[in-house]
Symmetry: C2
Subunit: 195 residues, 2 copies
DNA sequence: TGTACATCAGTGAACGCGCGTTCACTGATGTAC
DNA sequence: TGTACATCAGTGAACGCGCGTTCACTGATGTAC
């Protein structure tokens, strides 16, 4: 049957929202189209009224998640204090235990490296993140600022990936606590100096 | 038909070898049992003479890959020079482009975080790696040594994950080059001091 | 304003496919005598 | 040393299952007159 036109866009949005959460929790290959539609409260058939394929949804949901989180990264780039606050949130047990609303790089980057269709969306997100974060080192040279931004973001992603993959809760907590401390030291050291 | 007993152990080893390469290249869910057996030169039936399940193979192949690579990590822990040499190999375009013989953390850690059966093997690998790498900071306190080891390994893994996920070759190269430089700076700074 | 009809998002059964896994069977090897 | 037979890794057809995707159909909505 036909439905009010106004609902279509809203449903599209809800599918994206659900997909981006489920993908971050279980990975692209760990979630079926049917599951996403069921979780959205629809049957699986009309999926193809909204998206050309699962691959297309993967890419769009990545853009959706990026739009939803890039604001926090921008804020983190405003000052060393903002960056340190962002790091404390990012490199936390809460973020480790709740991937579905967390960083898309930590949950999906490895799978994206095997899914060419999703790479452009992720590349955009990474590139923008570096630019935002580099602003923290505005008193240093562009070269140093960029290097430190890359170092910081890579460390955060790597620490989260390892903390989630490890079985031993103590080791996992230790990875996060040490990384927060290491980043704090590193940032306080580099932001102060001129490059 | 029955085959010489001597061949059985050798075939088991070959399956592990093939699996650990294919898993690192395409991920656990990106490789089927049939593909692994075919690549090993066997039919898929006898797989279950060697392994209880695909999950069991995933775990054993992780241990196999760990055994094959932990020596390089041990070597890296011998001195700051050895660590820097290891970093130059690890954070390289060659390693980025050849995941099948590369670091299992960079290729598989995210998937392992959703595969409880494989976590113990990976945890062991991570734990041992930290211990080996921490030796580089033998003149610092245990606490600082461990923190720097965690920082270094997480950065390396994170940089590799991002470099592989990104579409733009220039950005990817830039991530690697900057991370090598950032790690060099960081290690030269911290190894020199006492903690 | 009321009526007739075209639209098209949603429905849900069905498709082909590849997956992990099972199993009755084969036959060279290894062993008992 | 020679023969008879039990062993068991390898064979390959077959299994049930869930996947991504398709499609003939439905019927309330929006539109033409």
């Amino acid at each position: 049957m036909r439905y009010p036109a106004s609902e279509t866009a809203e449903k599209h949005e809800r599918i994206l929202q659900t997909a981006s959460r489920l993908f971050r929790r279980n990975g692209f290959s760990g979630v079926s189209v049917g599951e996403i539609m069921r979780a959205t409260g629809l049957t699986h058939g009309p999926f193809y009224n909204h998206f050309a394929s699962k691959e297309a949804l993967m890419s769009e949901s990545m853009e959706h998640a990026s739009r939803g989180s890039i604001g926090a990264v921008e804020k983190a780039g405003e000052s060393a204090e903002d960056l340190l606050a962002h790091i404390d949130e990012y490199v936390s047990t809460k973020h480790r235990d709740e991937p579905e609303q967390g960083c898309l790089l930590a949950s999906l980057a490895t799978e994206v490296s095997r899914e060419p269709a999703v790479k452009p969306a992720l590349t955009q997100h990474v590139s923008t993140s570096f630019s935002h974060l580099a602003k923290v080192w505005r008193r240093s040279s562009k070269k140093v600022a960029r290097r430190e931004a890359i170092h910081a973001l890579s460390s955060m992603v790597g620490a989260m990936v390892l903390a989630r993959a490890v079985d031993d809760p103590e080791l996992s907590d230790e990875i996060l606590a040490n990384m927060r401390e290491a980043l704090r030291q590193s940032i306080q050291g580099t932001v102060a100096k001129r490059g």
